[in-house]
Point group: C2
Chain length 233, copies 2
Amino acid sequence: MQPGDDLAGMLLEAAADLLEPGDLLVVTHKVVSKAEGRLVALESIQPSDLALRFARRWGKDPRAVELVLRESQEVVRMARGVIISRTRHGQVCANAGVDLSNAGGGQVACLLPLDPDASARGLARRIQAAVGFAVPVVVCDSFGRAWREGIVNVALGVAGMDPFTDYRGTRDPHGYDLRVSRMASADALAAAAELAMGKVDGVPAVRVRGFPWRPGEAGGVALVRPPENDLFP
Amino acid sequence: MQPGDDLAGMLLEAAADLLEPGDLLVVTHKVVSKAEGRLVALESIQPSDLALRFARRWGKDPRAVELVLRESQEVVRMARGVIISRTRHGQVCANAGVDLSNAGGGQVACLLPLDPDASARGLARRIQAAVGFAVPVVVCDSFGRAWREGIVNVALGVAGMDPFTDYRGTRDPHGYDLRVSRMASADALAAAAELAMGKVDGVPAVRVRGFPWRPGEAGGVALVRPPENDLFP
C-alpha cells in the first residue's frame, strides 16, 4: 500500500465477489493511513525539548516522541516511557496511535487517519456503488487498556452501521430492566476481526458475516466518551 | 440455571455433538455464578453508612451498593453514582461485577464467580473427559471501559489456552520488531462471542471454531494488570 493507492478499488478487486448483503468489513487503519499518505519520515522531524528529555530518560527515539506529542491534543499520562494521550480525534490511547515501521527503507511513522469516520464512509460508499448493497465499514486499530494486559482491536471509524447495540429500555428474560446495557458492537467487531487478521500476516481487512447490524451514522466518534463524562480524564 | 445445577453436564447435553477438536467455548459468567450459588437476596443485606449515604445521594439501592463494596478490595473511583473498584479477583470494573435481577421473585444480586479461572478449569476438565479432546473455556462478563462508551465482553476466567497471542520478538512484514504486540486474545474471543450471544436471548455459551489457540495455563488472572504497573491505579 502506497500513498495515493486506491484502497477501495483494491478491496473490491480482492473481495467484491465474496460480499453478500448483510456482510460488513473491518479494515485495519494501517492500510487506510498508508493510502491516505499519513506517513512521516522520522528524519524530517525536529524534536522539541520535552520530546528530547522524555526520550533520553526512557531510551526512546526523540523524533517518535515528538510525533506522538504533535498528534495529541492532551497528555493524559506521561510516565515510565509511556505516553497516554487524547488524539486529535478524541481517542485516548498509547502513543497517539503512532506506529513505527521500516516500510520503504528509512524509519517511517504511520499516523492515524485524519478522520477515520470519513475514511470508513468513503470506503463504504465506493463498495456500495460497486456491489449494489450496503456494506458497513469499521476502521480499526489495536489499543492497550487501563487495568488489563495485552491489546485489543477497537473501532476508530464506523460507517453504515450503528456502532452500538442498545439494550437500554428492554428487559432481560427475568423482567429486569437492562439499565446500562449498551454494547459497543463496533469495538467487539474490531476485536473479533483481529482474531482472523493476526498481526504479521499482512491481512488488511476481514469480512464479517451473520452479525445483525442496524443502519446508523453515529460513526466511531460516538464510541469516544466525552472527557467531561469520564472518571479517568 | 439454579444453584447446584450441573452446568458442565448441561453444556455437554446441549453441545457435545457440536464440538470438534480445535473448538473452544465462551461461557457467560452469569450461568457460572448461578450454578455456583453466587446469588444474594437483597433483603438479606444490611447496608453500611457509606452505602446508605452514596445510595441516597445518587438514587441507588443501598443494599446493592453495600454488596458492591463487599465484593471490592479497593475503590478506584466513586462518583456520579458509579463505583469503579478492584474486585477480590483484581478485576477493575463497575459495581464489582454485581448484577441485579428479579430472578425468582424478589430482588437478587448475582456476584462474580469466586474464582473464574477455577470455574473455567472445572468446565474444561469435564468437557475434555466427555468428548475426548481439549476444549478451552473462557468465562466472560461485559465491562465498561475508561474513555470509551458502551460495554464489551472480557475474559474473567480462562482454561486450556494461552490468553494472549504474543507477537513480541517477531517481526512485521517490513522487518520491524513488534515490541508491544501482545494481543489479549481471550478478551477478543469474549468480545466476539458477545456478538453471537446477545444480551436478552438467554444464550449462555458460544462455540468458537477456527481460532488457532495455543495451550496454556496462565488463566484469566494474567489479563489483569498488576496495580503497580498501571498508570490508572
